[in-house]
Every structure is written in C-alpha cells, then in structure tokens.
Symmetry: C2
Subunit: 364 residues, 2 copies
DNA sequence: TTGAAAGCGCTAACAC
DNA sequence: GTGTTAGCGCTTTCAA
C-alpha cells in the first residue's frame, strides 16, 4: 500500500523521493521559513530572492508545499465535503441533483474551494469516508433520517449544513423548501380541476422493501420516520384533499425504490392496474412524471399528470409541476457553510417554490 | 482566517479544542499506538479494550484520527482529483460531461475513494487549486493544450491520467477516442447521402476571440495547437471529403465559444446567413446539433443534421450522431490511475465509437 | 528581511 | 497485545 502507484512509470518523479521545502531551502542556502514565505507571502521577500527560490524549486522538481502537511499545520483543507445518500454516480443522473450540484460547484469556485464528493453508499454503512475526508465543512443533502453518515459528520468538529433532509438536526443550519405547502399547491390545482380519483407515484429510496401501493391514508403511515420529504408531500396532498372536501381514500399511492423515468412508467402501470378509473397522476418528481407520460402515451388515455422540481425536460414535455430553486439551494448551502457572520443560532431557510401550470394538467 | 468558522455556533464542539488521539489514549490509560490500532487495525487488540477506547472517544467527542495528520503520515489522501477546463458548475450542465463524471464517480466509489472536483477556471490561471489539492492522483479531462493546470499536475509527484485532450503528454496515460476517424465516419455518411454544401458548427472554448466563420480549409488552420480534438474532427471531415471526391471549399465552418444548445441555434443562423444553399449541418456535439434543430424547426427547411456523443436527448430528437462511451471513459481513467499493474510505458487507449443513424439525416 | 525553535496529530517500526 | 521512538513536511511565533 505504502508505495501505491510506484509501478507507474508514468510520472518521472516517481521513485526519486519528492523534493521538500527543506531541500529547496538547503539548495538556495536560506531557511525553510523563507521558502515557505516565497510561496505563501511573496511580499515578505525581495523579488530577486523569490526568483532564486522558485528556480531552485523547479530544478529540484518541487511542486510547492505539500498539501497534507500544509493542511495539518493550518487546519484548512480548502475543500468542502458534499454528502449524498446515493452512490456518487447516481447524483449525476438526476437532473434535480445536477442543478443542485451546479449551485454548490459555482459557489465553491467563487470562494476558491474545491468540492469533495463523498460517496455515502447506503448498504455498506461506511461512515469511514466521512471520517477520512479532509475538508473544512460538510454539506449533507437529502439523506434519510438517522443515516449514520450524518452522525459521522456531526461527530466531526467542522461545521455542517443540511439540505432538504433530515428536517431537523440540532444546532445545524438547514436549507430546504416547504414541501408540504408546495405539494398542497399542486394538489389544490388538481383537485380544483375536478379530479377525485387520483394516483400518486412517489419514491422511497434506500430501503430493500418491495414497491408498495395503497390508499393515501394507508401509505401515509409507512416510512414516516425515514423520509420526511416524502411524508410532508403526502401530508400536503392530504391538506389539499381536505380543503377540497375530497375523500382521501380516493387517492392511490404507489412507492418506487428509485427515482427514474422507467420507474414512473411502472408506477403508472401499477396504479392503473389497481384503479383503472384514475383521471390524474401526481408525482413527487419530474423524472417519475415523465415516465408516467411515457406509459400513458403508450396506452392512449390522456390523464392529468403533474411532477415536482421543474427540471429542464419538464418544460419540453409540457409538464405541470412545482418549480424549486435547486441551484439556489446549492449556492445558499455553501454560503451558510463558509461565509462567516455573527449569529446566535442555526439558520433555517425555506426557499420559495412556485406552481408551474402547463399542458399536462386539465379538467377531469 | 485562522479560526475561520469559529463564529458558527452551529457545532457544539466548536470552541473546545477538538480531542486528539493522544487525549483518548491518556483517558483510557494506553498508548497512542493502541488507540490508533483501535481505529486502523481492530484485530490487533482485544475487543474489550477496543470498546473501552471507543467509549472514551465518544465521551471526549473524538471523531477518529484527524484526516490531515493521517494523510501526512500515510501519504494517502483517499481521494482523486478531477480537473476540468471549465468552471465547476459548467461540468454539470453538459450531458456528455455528466456521463463521464458518472463513470468516474462510480469507479471511485467502488474503490472507496472520494472525488475532488477541482475548478480549473481558465482566466484566473490559478493553478494554486491544483497545488493545494490533497489527492492520490489526478484525472485531467478535456483541457486545452498548454493549459497551466496540466503543468501544475505534472509537477506534482502523484500519477495522472489525461482524457481526450491534450492528445500527447509525455509519460502520462491517455484515454480518448479516435476523433478523426469518428468524425470521418459521420462525414462519410453525410457525403454518401449526396450532400455537398455542408455547414459545420464547432466549439472553440476558453478563448476570448469572437465567433469565426469560414471555409473548412480556412478554419482548419485556426486554433490548431490549443484544440486538438476540434482539429482532429475537422481533419476527419477533410478525409471524408477527399474520399468522397468533394471539394473541401464547399464546407463552411463556424466556431462558437460555448457548447450550448442556444449556441447551436446561433451557429445555424450564422451558417445559413452566409450560405443559404446548405443541405446539411454537422456539429461537433449533440448539444449544438439540438440547437441547430431548434433553429431549423423555427425556420422551416429540413436539412440533414448530425451531432456527436449520443447523449440521451439525441435519441429522443432522432439525431444522427456518433456514440462514444463517455461513462466507460470515466471508469477507465480511474482504473488506469488507481489499479496498479506492472507495465513499462504509459497506456494509450482509444475507445471504440459507432455511427448512430437516425431520422435527422437523409438524402440531399 | 531572515532564521531558530516548536509542534500540528498521527502512524510505522520495532521492541517488549 | 501493547508501548517506545521517531519522524511525515510544513507554518508560525518570536527574535535578530
């Protein structure tokens, strides 16, 4: 392990021990301090001396102060850790997540920080990756309540910001949306159009349980603790049903294990198999909704379909949905994490959402 | 700077100096080695002692060995650096890049490494981020020839892998495709359909020059050194023209500064303004091609359009394109970087591409 | 401007 | 199974 990579002949510098700051100092005939200053406080030495030092560094193949040693000394890693509940690669396939990453990435770039993507694989439970991350702080995004990775983050002395989920973590900043109100808003729209036999496709990730289908009241109970976001949206739906004086039993909910287009199609099939008289299908993400549209296009009937997020593809598909500022969420998370300002208690920000009505929703 | 973040009351542990391994050892009454072993070689102590140590750690709020100190000692960062030519956020908006990241991410996850995204902002020239990155190796993807970030990577003792561009870096592994042959293949298809008045929309990023339009021979000269990929594709086009006994002067090339859908539309407009008799437009990316289709749909004429990459949206749009295994590229880059195996010289892999013919191309 | 001294927190040999 | 010793490479007072 120790000389991992030593068989790479790729790097010429492999083999010869990497030059150190001390070596450069010796070569130039100055102290280590001076060389350190040449890199970190160029104004502390004469330009001429600096040039000599840099020349020597170049000759010796010295690439500048070792980042690890430097970090150990300064207690600064110049990087931010971002923790996802899913495998690293998954994050890149979810358009909503991509938007969020975009915001995080830009905000980091602006502050000269790098972004460390930390794979938080559900099964393995290796909070090790968190323990070993050399970062100045963590952004924890959309992980289930009680996830061990969060515990690992909290045990570390660096600050953290939670996004979307879990909803409440003592003493930690939070950024999210009002999921309950937002979903109630689309649902109100759907009820307002006269729909009463409504299907819902939602996601319940990270659990090995099979997909489950049932009435809204029945499904509201399940997964309550682990998935506050899903729960809140279903509650919003319930709110809207109550407001519309509609029977919650008329709402059929199916849960999918993965947020994927294909799963949306399967969900639609499942719902229609259970209750062929549905006139509307609401989804907790645009991706699912697009899948529902796929399935409906295949079958023929033209039901009302709604999504959530307003990803770019939603506009193209004419999907009625809820827009949430994913990119802004990312920016804000980094801002909260890195920009210090005096304050006495953790920040809790709910960003505004808005209902976007398009062609996919219409009268019952 | 030093106590950056100390105003966060977010973390209870802030303020009280973070516990160290030594403190835990003192508490339990064992040596530091033993505590270190408890974390890194659990089989080296009795389970009972380990439990006592962990309990003490918990009490003291010790989150495990400090990653920076650990890395300094072990020379392992447990992370891989990924360098992009564009701003961090940009990477997430390019579907091809997303596929690539997906592959890189998965491969890292499998090996228990984190992924450090390193923003290589063109203008600022701050190779500093590279110098300060605590990683075990670098993947350098699609950056211009002569980019200072690459020089920074090469000066560091860690191994590196280059993807796509620059084409040749002495002593460093390379992963890419045969851009010339691949583009010659689509071009051959287009010429084969009888097209002779052909437009090309390509990208020349990172330069502050205005968009330029001109005949293929004229444009072939420009940006030659900095953008080998673009150059190779244009050469492939030339190859195909020669093979089809078509006059290269009939090919009109326009360059855009950004790889974006809107730029494709603008490119199409520019081409048609210059040469209204075009019957086909070839693009160096699907994104550009989709923009071209947008513009064409707006105007009415139905030209042959081709893309490059075969991103998911290409299939939906019926776009004829060249499929390249972006995800595989990412996986392979990590494999080359991390999986040691004996070999005497740098690896150079060109992955296979394939022409995907869809509805967007047809007879002239 | 420059240098000397001190130590960041940890792990790897090697002894016991 | 556990401890002792010796740094990893750097930055930072503080004094010259």
């Amino acid at each position: 392990m120790e000389n991992s990579g030593s068989q790479h002949l790729a790097k010429p510098s492999r083999g010869r021990p990497a030059a150190t700051l001390a070596a450069v100092a010796a070569r130039v005939g100055v102290s280590r301090t001076t060389v350190s200053n040449a890199y970190n406080r160029p104004d502390q030495l004469s330009g001429q001396l600096r040039d000599r030092i840099m020349a020597a560094a170049e000759q010796l193949g010295y690439a500048g102060p070792d980042p690890m040693a430097r970090s150990l000394r300064t207690k600064q890693a110049d990087a931010v850790g971002l923790i996802f509940s899913e495998r690293l690669g998954y994050a890149f396939h979810d358009p909503g997540a991509v938007e969020f990453l975009h915001g995080v990435g830009e905000a980091c770039t602006e502050r000269g920080r790098s972004l460390l993507l930390i794979p938080a694989v559900p099964g393995a439970g290796q909070a090790d990756t968190v323990r070993r991350a050399a970062v100045d702080g963590f952004v924890v995004s959309s992980i289930p309540e009680g996830d061990p990775h969060l515990a690992a983050v909290l045990s570390r002395p660096q600050p953290a910001v939670v996004v979307d989920s879990p909803r409440t973590v003592a003493g930690v900043d939070f950024v999210g949306i009002d999921d309950r109100a937002a979903f109630a808003e689309v649902a109100g729209h759907v009820f307002g159009l006269g729909h009463r036999r409504i299907g819902v496709v939602t996601v319940r990730r990270g659990e090995q349980v099979a997909a489950a289908t049932g009435s809204l009241p029945a499904r509201l109970g399940a997964g309550q603790l682990q998935h506050p976001v899903r729960q809140l949206r279903l509650l919003g739906l319930l709110d809207a049903a109550v407001a519309a004086a509609a029977a919650p039993d008329g709402v059929l909910v199916t849960e999918r294990a993965v947020n994927a287009r294909r799963e949306g199609a399967l969900g639609a099939a499942e719902l229609l198999a259970t209750e062929p008289a549905l006139t509307a299908i609401m989804c907790t993400s645009d991706i699912l909704a697009l899948g529902v549209l796929d399935e409906l296009a295949r079958r023929g009937p033209r039901l009302t379909v709604t999504g959530f997020d307003d990803v770019p593809a939603a506009a193209a598909a004419g999907l009625t949905t809820v827009r949430q500022p994913m990119e802004e969420k990312g920016r804000l998370a980094i801002q909260l994490l890195l920009d210090e300002r005096p304050r006495s208690r953790p920040d809790r920000t709910l960003l505004a959402t808005s209902l976007v009505i398009r062609a996919s929703s219409g009268p019952a």
